[in-house]
Amino acid sequence: MSIVRSSARSADDLTLVPRAHPRGAATCVARISLTEFRCYRSAVLDIDPRPVVLTGPNGAGKTNLLEAISMLAPGRGLRRARLDELDRWMPGQTPGRGPAWAVAARILVPAGSHDVGTGRDPTDETVRRVVRIDGRAARGQTALAGLLTVLWLTPAMDRLFNDRAGERRRFLDRLVYGLDPEHAERVSAYDHALRERAHLLRAERAPDPAWLDVLEAKMAEGGVAIAAARRILVQRLNAVMEDGPGIFPRARLGVSGATDEWLDTMPALAAEEKLAAALGTSRGHDREAGGALHGPHRADLSVVHAGKGLPAREASTGEQKALLVAIVLAQAAMLSQVRGRTPILLLDEVAAHLDARRREALFDVLLALGAQCWLAGTDEATFAELGSAAQFVRVRDAMLAPAPEGTSR
């Protein structure tokens, strides 16, 4: 579809946008309020399902608002901040001791709406996050995963393909959480067993072999499940990108690592046995080197620019960005296909790095996806092509001011 331009259409034509969305209404944020969050003392924003464009100078609070939205999903948000780092900074105030941050939102889902609130527990003297859904305290953050999925792209991810493998694994695992929320627990249980085993191996007295056996059996079972979940995600994303729009470079994803390769040639149970046996024989090595020689924590996400057959790490900065955008868009499309629900997309400083042709293509794809997308950038003109298909919000000194319709161009 083409971009809806504000100059060419009246306000009534806005209904054209939802009609172009895939069947089934999208999940979106209808209202968000921030209290004592980062630079915001108190701010409320009411929005509709259209893409939201946040513009304003550096340091105005655009990324902080995106971060607040990212806290509506389980995890540590788009900056991976500690809970007390999110409290509004005040001179002379110890983090976690002043007023506690809170983010509340009204989420529209196909079946109705939910009021979601999260923040640092102000009544607890230890730093703890609380989650409330429709006025009831949720048992934990995982309850949020049932309501909405949030995907993001930030400038910090620009170096992803040249960064350490750990960063790419984290990126990959976050994509898997969207498809399979159990994955988060699986990864944390695996990491815990891995640390326990490493600690036992390093202990001065010889560790109880039966204890090591149990930990390794847990690592093998959880590890193969992790590798399998990553494989399923990669296969699905590759399939989506196979017939994706041609303007973004097609990325071919793969997971490299011994455990992952075993799954190519043997059933999962055999891979579990093989991993448990490999961990058993590498105890001596792991005692000396720390960590573990085998397991999915050694895997890496490989990304190839399919058109050029070029590994992503060797592509130009602009191409790398375009590949990342392609992956995130494919993830969004895949989630709405597979889970029947569109994620919320947070794209920080993404449009500015794309050439005009790709930028327009990005806007087209976003509108066609029907996902509520939050775009942040310094320059309103970058988003002019969106016109009245989007809603514009000006961010100045931690204040949010919706721009009047039609003034964005």
Binding site: G146, P181, E196, A210
Partner: protein, 197 residues
């Protein structure tokens, strides 16, 4: 009471689980206000409990007699042994009134990072107990945490040679729980552990 006495009381109260400095100050003031009706009986109860309550040498429960009241109760079924992490878990199971067998308190869970190994837990006494006493079934009632489950598997391995029935508690939908509000992990566990109606 000089300020130092009061400060010491507050410091000690603040060490209780669930209390921080602020709530400890509130508790200390409340105690002082209810000196006769609460503070003195509490002090006496604390002294008496510190003096008389001991861990049971058989199961690890807390009681003023050893073996404890539960171990001495001849109506309880000695063929079933329920293994719990802490005394609080034993109390929780007792409150249900649903279990009539005997208990075994481990005193924690295996955690290399916290320096808790098999020797720090009552695992050897458990294996010895399970091998004698006419025990037919051991229920591993550990929490569904990573360390709890590691401990359960470790104990199951250790009990493996005794030819007993080793079971664990079911994981799933809480009584009165709505599916919509359950996390995916619990729901998946409940689905795997489904039963014919």
């Amino acid at each position: 009471m000089t300020p130092t006495h009061l400060e010491r009381l507050i410091q000690l109260l603040a060490k209780l689980p669930g209390l921080g400095p602020r709530s400890a100050r509130r508790a200390a003031l409340h105690l002082l206000r209810k000196r006769e009706s609460l503070m003195q009986p509490l002090a006496a109860a604390l002294t008496e409990a510190a003096d008389k309550v001991r861990g049971c040498s058989v199961c690890g429960n807390l009681d003023t007699v050893d073996p404890c009241g539960l171990c001495q109760d001849s109506r309880r079924d000695g063929t079933i042994l329920c293994v719990v992490e802490e005394v609080a878990d034993l109390w929780a199971l007792e409150r249900t009134g649903a279990f009539k067998g005997r208990y075994h308190v481990l005193g924690g869970v295996l955690s290399a990072l916290d320096g808790v190994g098999p020797d720090q837990l009552a695992i050897d006494p458990l294996v010895a107990r399970a091998g004698t006493d006419g025990v037919k079934e051991v229920i591993l009632a550990m929490g569904a945490t990573v360390d709890g489950q590691t401990t359960a598997h470790y104990i199951a391995d250790r009990l493996g040679q005794l030819g007993l029935s080793v079971t664990r508690l079911a994981h799933g939908v809480p009584v009165g729980g709505e599916l919509d509000y359950l996390d995916d992990g619990t729901l998946a566990a409940a689905l795997r552990a489904r039963r014919p109606l």
